[in-house]
Amino acid sequence: MKINIHPIAAIILVLILTIIDFSTYNVSIISGILLFILIVLIFSGNADKLKKNIYYFIPYAVITILINLIFVSEGSHVIFQAMGKKFTLESLVYALIMSLKLLNVIYIFPLFGVLVDSDDLVSFFSSIAPKSTLTLLISAKIIPRLKRRYESIREVFSLRGVDFSKKRKRDMIEGFLPVIASLTEDTLEGSFEIGEAAFVRGYLGSKRTIYEKRKLNSKDYLILMLSLVQMIFFIWSSMNDYIYFDIYSKAGLNSFFNIYVSINIIMMLIISVTIVF
């Protein structure tokens, strides 16, 4: 089910969430963003999107944790020692925070898909920046098409004796070369076809009108206002180090959960509730 808020409100909200996610290491605020996403996706009936995207997250999270544990020995709480190397609790927590940030970024894409109707988005931006919209549109349309082509090419090459399940990296890459070559050609061809269809139908031709013109309603204004207040409060509390958190500098309980952190999280929850209900 789509929530369908105005594209402008959706873009600003998602941008603010992304900026906050990238600019803080405070685990409570990062968890607040995740909570925001969970509330919106679950209460809008899109919980399946959480499951689908977790598969992309797991391998990256494992790699991040391993790399951080192996290469960073900072911190005073040693979990264990091996081969003359310290593995610290701090480096593990840091890696978990990074993974959580990554998980938020992964979930922000389906969140955006739920917040806004893609046709509304195309229609809206076509009237503002038609050329850029066409480029983005081609990219968006080409992906599902490539997915279908990938299946069909993989089937054909499997039956021609190509083994895609080889364990050695080199063999595996060699196996996928024909598929990649065919898909590259298809991308060019597909982009051309979409561009041609747009041309034939008069796109970029003249001034555009808008079917079912989407106006900002009171809910959109409220979301916009709350999002901007959230952003301003986040910047202010960051600049004054009220929400500063660094796991390696002997973080106390107060540094990752205090009144300012709580206000940031509460504001996120208010926005999520406004969106869903």
Binding site: D119, S126, S127, E155, V156, G161, D186, E196, R201, T209
Partner: protein, 530 residues
Amino acid sequence: MEFINIKNLNYYYPNENEKALDNINLNIEKGELVLITGKSGSSKSTLGKAITGAVPNFYGGRIGGEILINQTDIKELKDGDRAKLVTMVLQHPEKSFLMDKVHREIAFGLENIAYDEKGIKRRVFEALEFCNILDLAYRNIDTLSGGEKQKLAIAAALSYSPECIILDEPTSQLDPSAAEEIVNIIKKINKELFITIMVIEQRTNKWLMAADRVLFMENGKISLDGSREEFYQSKIHKYNEFLPSYLRLLKRLNIGYKNSLKEAKEALNGIKVNKIENKIYPGNTLISIKNLKAGYGDRNVLDGINLDIKQGDFLGIIGSNGAGKTTLLKSVLNLIPYKGSVKISGIEASKMSLKEIGREIGYISQNPNDYIWKDTVYEEVKFTLSNYSIEDEDLVNQTLKQLDIYKYKDKNPRDLSGGELQRLAMAAVLVLKPKILILDEITRGIDPILKKRISGLLKKINESGTTIIIVTHDIENAALLCKNLALIINGEIVSYGSRDQVLKDGIYYSTDINKLFKNNVYLEEEVKNV
């Protein structure tokens, strides 16, 4: 009234020295329904695209001559104004839809031409209603069938209320019933809204009866421009290949043009033909299918299929789009999970790797482009052998010769024509000398001359001992090639047997010639001893 006037039109695609359009002179009257036919690569689509301005504005290249619409040179028209006058439904509409929802896709075109915002909704829904797809208005385009997508593309074109719609192969990908619906909608647009229609098609069966005028194109030139009667009566042999089978028969019997099967039946009254018995080929069972159930996700497509395919058979699996034909093939090839049993040479398919199956069964998909990635034809065929660690240059050469593409062995596969590419795809799997060859809708969208050539080739391959299974909704072609047929409707085999047994009692799934004679004669070529 003169509507489109083309004078001395010449066109070269970018970096090409050969003319794609060669001195085209053409007048199209308002309200005409013009059928443009000819072989693949004869520049039919290029002509259509030149009228829409996509050639050369989108494609580039060099153009000479004039295209006037309502006496105005299209070079002087703005893109939006041109789109209001002439619009085109491209060959694969599903690849060119830009929105997700049906009603938004139609509105997209109207937004482009800055149509009055208050009137867009009315235009969108009237176009949907005219094309009889109002119930699809809020559906997601991805969920539509091929025929529904084609109707949507037509509704989108109609919503402009243009003076001319050009349709590029609108029925080539559709099964006969969906194709018939499209023809009826186009006829209605032409007759009731007086919109000029130009249909580019290689399969003329349904269109010839609707057309006011026929253009035949060859090598970028118009070699025939006349009425359907003139097209029929032409002494030039190659035009015959583009006639529907019942007209080819009438022509052979020196009977004048008839515009329907009913008229043809009356003209053939009193003519009797001898029965030709279709032999059933006995042999050992190569593929044994028992109680097969398969589908995608929660959707069950096949429901308890039982089928034995014998060595040396030429089996046609027929039925409409979505009936389950391709799902059956995919189950046999172990490309999708299934319940029940599929045994290939006695071994359960699900226990075989795809590589092992590939050794037993050669598979040709709908798109020959799926088979090319190397830089030469020779390398492409050799690639399959190398995957099985076989180094045998003679075998590669022998296969290329068998499929008559040895002369192209050093050519880049991307430079081959459609028919040559199709043969390369066949060579790429036949080089393994599989016992069985499976082909999925390979004659879809190809011209009759090429279809005849590929059919001849398949017959030879079958005669040399290879069992062939084709999936098709082209009944005439299935009747021409197959020894046995299996008719699938809604995931069930509702009729299986020799070609004659299956086609004899068909109301819908039979050939035009059988409808005329009802006498175990299915093809024009089989009408003997008249």
